[in-house]
Symmetry: C3
Subunit: 376 residues, 3 copies
């Protein structure tokens, strides 16, 4: 094993964007529904185990549960049930070697661990507030259209004032996509949009209110995480290309850091934005475990093609199963090590620089963006 891999294996990663783990034992349908971005497809003959991420689970997680590498799905699930979710969680997160988790608490169709439960004894936990969830809670409580803007702002301020909150997040990519008017909407425009939305109900997907949400994020002053690229079938992928945000990124230059999450297959577009804007950062979370350790190096190589080394962050974007928290970390460590070691071996990069890139991307870039305090 090379020196780069050793450094990566020894590093306590900062996972700057992830979710909790389901607090229940999972039967096969439940587990399979959590290891795909598709819906479950019973009767289709397509099991999520028969995909790159399924192969990676059997290869990298099975040994941690005491099984052979590449154990069959049935055996894997039986052993998982035998150990119980708490022990699986303990083993997999223990092996992930993550030192800090920043947890998006605004998406939980299942009962999942709190940030503190996720992190356990070994790691620190911080919280990321999903602004769409805040807005929808405001609507659910009942608010007059003309009072929506103030009520949303007050609720967001309250949410980010909670101990341990280090960032906000938006899923505008899912709701409207990024081909939005980049200007801050006026009060009257917001009031009218709120009237329409509150009358109609449902999730926040009005373009004016989504813009308003993004500008409210600017006012809050915390780093803003943005879903871009890859996700589930609710996306229109081409509208989640972060290049569509360029006008808005110009407008908000000098205010808050913007963290482009996932990005694949637009990670080169994201790299361009991180290269030209001081306040833009990226990761390839979610893609890391879906492509698996066998392919993570190729994706990271594209993401790092032009990107300043202080601009790439690590995240798993794991949701639901501890397998993904582990696989994100393994993919990152193994993929980045392969790519940097190859350059060191070819004398295109010196070892000292490779080790700095490891520390920066795996931990310090997040520490600089989020300025974690002792609060946890």
């Amino acid at each position: 094993m090379g020196a780069v891999r050793e450094a990566l294996d020894a590093l306590a990663l900062v996972d700057h964007h992830c979710h909790g783990v389901v607090t229940a034992d999972l039967d096969r349908p439940a587990f399979e529904s959590l290891i795909t971005e598709g819906s479950r497809w019973p009767g289709s003959g397509v099991s999520p185990f028969d995909s790159p991420v399924g192969v990676a689970v059997r290869r990298h997680c099975a040994p941690l549960l005491g099984l052979e590498r590449h154990a069959p799905p049935e055996e894997y699930l039986a052993r998982r049930a035998e150990l119980g979710w708490r022990e699986v969680h303990r083993r997999l997160l223990g092996a992930a070697g993550t030192g800090v988790y920043c947890v998006d608490t605004g998406y939980a169709p299942d009962d999942v661990t709190t940030p503190a439960e996720l992190a356990g004894e070994r790691a620190a936990a911080y919280e990321v507030v999903r602004l769409e969830s805040v807005a929808e809670a405001v609507a659910a409580r009942g608010v007059e259209p003309d009072g929506y803007a103030d009520a949303f702002r007050a609720a967001a301020l309250e949410a980010v004032g909670r101990p341990g909150v280090v960032a906000v997040k938006s899923v505008a990519a899912y709701r409207t996509g990024f081909a939005l008017d980049p200007d801050r909407p006026g009060d009257a425009e917001v009031g009218q949009a709120a009237r329409r939305w509150l009358a109609r109900g449902g999730r926040l997907d009005d373009p004016v209110l989504v813009r308003h949400l993004l500008w409210t994020a600017v006012d809050l002053g915390l780093p803003l995480q943005l879903h871009t690229g890859f996700g589930d079938s609710d996306l229109r992928l081409h509208r989640a290309d972060p290049a569509l945000l360029t006008d808005w990124l110009h407008r908000i230059s000098g205010t808050i850091p913007v963290l482009l999450l996932h990005c694949w297959p637009y990670h080169r577009q994201a790299a361009y934005l991180a290269t030209v804007f001081a306040h833009v950062y990226l990761d390839v979370g979610l893609a890391l475990h879906y492509v698996g350790p066998a392919r993570a190096s190729a994706v990271l190589a594209e993401a790092l093609e032009i990107t300043p080394f202080r601009k790439l962050l690590y995240s798993s974007d794991a949701y639901g199963v501890a397998e993904f928290h582990l696989l994100g970390a393994v993919s990152f460590r193994q993929g980045l090590a392969a790519l940097l070691q190859e350059r060191v071996d070819a004398d295109e990069l010196c070892l000292a620089d490779a080790l700095r890139i490891v520390t920066w991307t795996g931990a310090d870039n997040s520490r600089q963006v989020y300025r974690f305090s002792a609060t946890s």
Copy 2:
């Protein structure tokens, strides 16, 4: 040679989308015009032989005609003429090792083999009905605008009722692109559009009628092959990005299988769709021989990055020259073997899984989608 390559070489491939071979001997201009997606460029100093596909023809086809690898174009064409097209066809298709051909019979600017002639003694042949050709034949026969919808449906039903038909195909990508209204058009809308089109004549490129064609495909109930991505200069490539189809794919969920053909350079977008929709599949046909065996592994690696292994199919999309039916197969076998063997060697994939992926993608996924009967 590794075990994966041996399995691929032994496998009778299902080429789920291809065309016939020109039934004539070809002089240099005629041959060159068939090995490029460009028009012929006489006097430009650019020969299609001086491209990746030309290099691949000389490397992989020349030995099958009894020449040295990398034989010069003149020598290759002289030998080809000496053997005659029937013998060239026999040798190259024999070496391709394809067991089943699904042949799009709706595109034949030249005189080409029938599906049965293409397959010969060794392989089975099935037919794919190109719906634009059906619609244009209806118009050519003469039809009243208000009767167009019924006449098209009747003609399509008749076409797919022929023995050996296993799928329909649309080239909507060429005619309008995919940024279409995803909803089924109403009868009056179709009638008006038909009136305009029938008065104007020409090929079917009215957006309402293209939508109507796609929805008629849904009614027919057979798998639908869709050209996406790479093709000739008649494309507007960015409008052939399959991500633009997402709304329509949602609408038709639970009806017919949709096979995204070619996809390059949007194969990651296609992989996303195949990952989140149960009814969506993809291939990288056409790209396989144009990039050649030297690069097929890289393209397949991107196409398979997140794709469930039951969702990738093999096709050559060969048209006109048997060289392409051979090269598609060689690129697929060589490219997939390289990628899977590397993962087996790194213990990221077990050999049993690699062999299942070989059988699935090379043959069984197509068998499951098209449910070939004994009819041939």
Copy 3:
């Protein structure tokens, strides 16, 4: 070292698109501002040295200044200052081994070398006229709206009539992007647009006038270089996708050669255009040095995936610092050699073909497009 690399190292490259070098010694802020496509970000903690291009400068340029490979930035800049810009220029351009420079003289926010000064004794220099600069000079001199079209044409004709001019260039990608009406605008339309623009002032970014500029380029009859893809924060990257030009490329077929510059991350789209249109060419300049020699092979492999070998050109797109003229050449030589030698070693390509591809892409394709005369 393989035979391909030897051939590439021995070849006098034609750099068909680059800029001059700043004629002054540079302190750290000035040097850093020239080695990034971002603005300078003082206080951000992000130095352009901590990026792939910074690593490449320290690895490949430091030894040419008499330092160890990977020398730290401080040491590098101190040595650079000690030698003075003329000596640095002399050493780096000497090592680049470029035989011909085509220099875009229409962009010079700094005092830079003339084409002849850039080339020095060892190389020939030709000039590329940036049409937006011509148009803006016409406006600055004062012109009546109705006279704008004639005045611009006359000024452009005069500019391209200067000795040594071999091409024109447009930065339409920056000004409007490529989603333009592909038709030639009428006189009245141009007059009205000129009236608006001349009244408003500022740079040429009116869509009608940008179209008019592109059509004027067609009339001039010289090869047209077009910025596409990667550049600074002034871009809207997604509007610089060259596929958006397809309608216009159809319209002008049979007139002038069009050279798509940079292209990354749309180099596959550019490759498609170069494959289907006789008059379209591409390069991956700018990307070559920003990704660095460690990654140039991967980018070139994508750019050459389907591209006819007579259609890829070499350019550095270096601006400001001689480091970039050197790095472009090193990235091209090293990257192309790695990719071709690997194919030769695998017997996918014969050595004679590899050597032809070297000569074509590194020099002869440009010679054929630009038809350099003895004038220099």
